[in-house]
């Protein structure tokens, strides 16, 4: 008979069995036994962050850039509440993640013990599922379930709350090979008849449009999406979460759509006659006002693994529930076998129209400016990195410019908080990306407001020698807040000016990193080149940019896609 293990040992053994190589966390009273076991082994590497929010974002960036389950470990009470922002971020963007949290001993639960919170209650609305393990006999199977649930179906974070006494108790350790749950059987294969209907609709299209979201990235279906789009010669737009799902430098790419999408993408979305929505959810930032969207007639095919995403905001004609990868493969097979082709003359006309929209050159900006234009910094970053970097971002104007101007040709290269819009996400996420891709070039595009929300992680970067390149677009404003105040609140810039900023160069240097301040447009490229030459160093580039620059095009809240404000 095999020896009995403690709950803490079992927890670590489970992580090893799952092949987890790297976890992010912060110790505390309730998880001390687990940390003790971590200490005694070297298969699972622990990265010590400086705040639990960063642990989750780092695990998130790790997961997004690698398609492995991200794992974080936090203590009870404040450990968990600090983690909540990160968990909600991962939940909104459907990121596979397992969070292990400590809890006060079972005998103390409900007695307002020191560092006690109702973790399962607090996290319930922002996890795919969560567990409180009160019985050590359930521990291994629960962790197995957590990994299974997190990584299958529509992925998402799963939390396992483990009371301290459970980590001390002993039992025989058996890690199940697989779990089956009668109440959880996610569909993967799409319905054959629905796929056939979709193929028929595609062949009848005169003004087709492919609209691809984060689901394409999550299911690793970028090659299939690209194949489908190119064999049909259809235009393709990607959502903020879907960037990289179709190569942005290809001529069939219309760029991003939505509130700050391109003119051509939004117009084509509005005026197409057959829309193929792939792993996307028609959210408010994408189609604006749904009523306005339906002023035009079009047939919609919607492929998504989550039935509840279908016909939630927009009624669709051909719903296909299934894994995007499986469904696209089937669809391609069907269309290849088909002798018919969509009306080529109509398609030619449609492309002509799209080219006219494209000529509007909606992303133009003043290239001769004497002040650094933020868009220019991102263009240069794209050139200097040859489009091959992993880019994380925070939230605001810089995020939108990054999405517009960095042309992502590959999936899992663009890592941002799309759904929740979490400022402070960028740098910790970049840490996770760098750890998952030790040889990759990783840049965090941020602003002076966002970066300060998790600035403490400069310390973590020092400890683990993470050579991130921080591109700080410093306009001394919460830029997106300022933009809305300019457009919709009579230029009253209530509390959006960033006062009392630190000297970012000195700040970076105080952590042992390299700091640079760039104030002239002609210095931008050299600074970026120099930064990427410093392969082993974190370089914090503080770009002093135009304070008044706005993100265009813009579909104001509540307006329709064709009602854009243009430059």
């Amino acid at each position: 008979m095999s020896a009995e293990l403690t709950g803490a040992e079992i927890t670590i053994r489970c992580l090893q069995e799952e092949g987890v190589q790297c976890i992010f966390g912060y110790p505390g009273g309730a998880v001390l036994f687990i940390y003790d076991e971590l200490f005694k082994q070297d298969k699972v590497r622990h990265i010590l962050v400086r705040h639990e929010q960063a642990a989750i974002h780092a695990a998130d960036g790790y997961a997004r850039s690698s398609n492995k389950v991200g794992v974080a470990l936090v203590t009870s009470g404040p450990g968990v509440t600090n983690a909540v922002t990160g968990i909600a971020t991962a939940y909104m963007d459907s990121i596979p993640m397992v969070v292990i949290s400590g809890q006060v001993p079972t005998s103390a639960i409900g007695l307002d013990a020191f560092q006690e919170v109702d973790t399962v209650g607090i996290t319930r609305p922002c996890v795919k599922h969560n567990f409180l393990v009160k019985d050590i006999a359930e521990l291994a199977v629960t962790i197995k379930k957590a990994f299974y649930i997190a990584s299958t179906g529509r992925p998402g974070p799963v939390l396992v709350d483990i009371p301290k006494d459970v980590t001390q108790q002993k039992t025989k350790f058996v890690y199940p090979d697989k779990v089956s749950m009668r109440s959880y059987n996610p569909v993967t294969k799409g319905h054959a008849r629905q796929i056939k209907k979709a193929a028929e609709l595609i062949l009848s299209a005169k003004r087709p449009m492919v609209y691809a979201g984060g689901g394409v990235i999550l299911s690793d279906a970028a090659p299939q999406l690209t194949e489908l789009t190119q064999m049909l010669n259809f235009p393709c737009t990607n959502t903020l979460m879907g960037l990289g799902g179709y190569p942005a430098t290809d001529k069939q790419s219309l760029g991003m759509l939505g509130m700050h999408g391109t003119y051509e993408a939004n117009m084509a979305m509005q005026y197409c006659d057959v829309l193929i929505a792939v792993g996307a959810r028609f959210d408010d930032r994408v189609i604006g006002n749904p009523k306005h969207f339906f002023n035009e007639n079009r047939k919609i095919i919607h492929i998504d693994i989550d039935p509840s995403s279908i016909s939630k905001r927009v009624k669709v004609d051909v719903p296909i529930v299934g894994d995007v990868l499986d469904v696209l493969k089937e669809l391609i097979k069907l269309l290849k076998a088909e002798k018919e082709k969509p009306d080529q003359a109509a398609l030619k006309e449609w492309w002509k129209q799209i080219e006219l929209w494209r000529e509007r050159d909606c992303l133009k900006f003043d290239r001769s400016s004497k002040i650094i234009k933020p868009q220019m910094v991102i263009e240069k970053l794209f050139n200097v990195t040859k489009g091959d970097a992993f880019i994380t971002s925070d939230v605001g104007q810089h995020q939108m410019w990054a999405a517009q101007f960095y042309k992502f040709d590959k999936p899992r290269r663009w890592i941002n908080s799309g759904g929740l819009g979490t400022m402070g996400f960028g740098m910790p996420a970049a840490m996770g990306v760098q750890l998952a891709n030790p040889k990759g070039k990783v840049a965090c595009i941020t602003g002076e407001a966002s970066i300060q929300m998790c600035i403490q992680e400069l310390s973590t970067c020092k400890q683990y020698r993470l050579p991130l390149k921080i591109v700080n677009l410093n306009n001394r404003y919460m830029g997106m807040v300022r933009q809305w105040q300019e457009f919709f609140h009579g230029n009253r810039y209530a509390e959006s000016y960033m006062n009392a900023l630190p000297d970012f160069v000195k700040l970076a240097e105080s952590y042992g990193h390299v700091g640079m301040k760039i104030e002239k447009p002609e210095d931008v490229e050299d600074a970026l080149k120099e930064a990427f030459k410093l392969k082993d160093q974190l370089v914090f580039m503080d770009f002093i940019t135009d304070q008044t620059e706005n993100v265009f095009p813009m579909v104001p809240g509540g307006k329709g896609l064709s009602e854009m404000i243009l430059v």
């Binding site: 319930r124 109440s183 939630k312």
Partner: protein, 155 residues
Amino acid sequence: MENEAGALSRVAGLFSARGYNIESLSVAPTEDPTLSRMTLVTIGSDEVVEQVTKQLNKLIEVVKIIDLNDGDHIERELMLVKVRAVGPDREEIKRLAEIFRGSIIDVTNKSYTIELTGTSSKLDAFLQAIERSAVLETVRTGASGIGRGEWILKV
């Protein structure tokens, strides 16, 4: 749904988080003690009910869900109502309870407690039939529903 701690709060939490309305909810373990059966009454357009159903299905602990309105079904609710019963009212209330096929399950010299089962509208009708000021207390379980005939919800 799985008969597990916290399953009910997931359902209730889903409704409040997504702005759906719970008219009534009744839940108890089934003949299989690992399963609980819940009857939940909500009001909404077809689209809303479809979303509610899909969202409930996504909850990991929900095993199976049916919309009883998709077929013939039977609905029953239990109500206990305590009424003031003095003087000539005592006879009148007793008669009324008989008409509604209720039974008096507790008696004092001032009050009756009546047990009544039926559809929610029958219970409403009973409350309307007796004088409002006579009603001292009511407690209702919310509806429980089951399909007619061969229509069986079983895991």
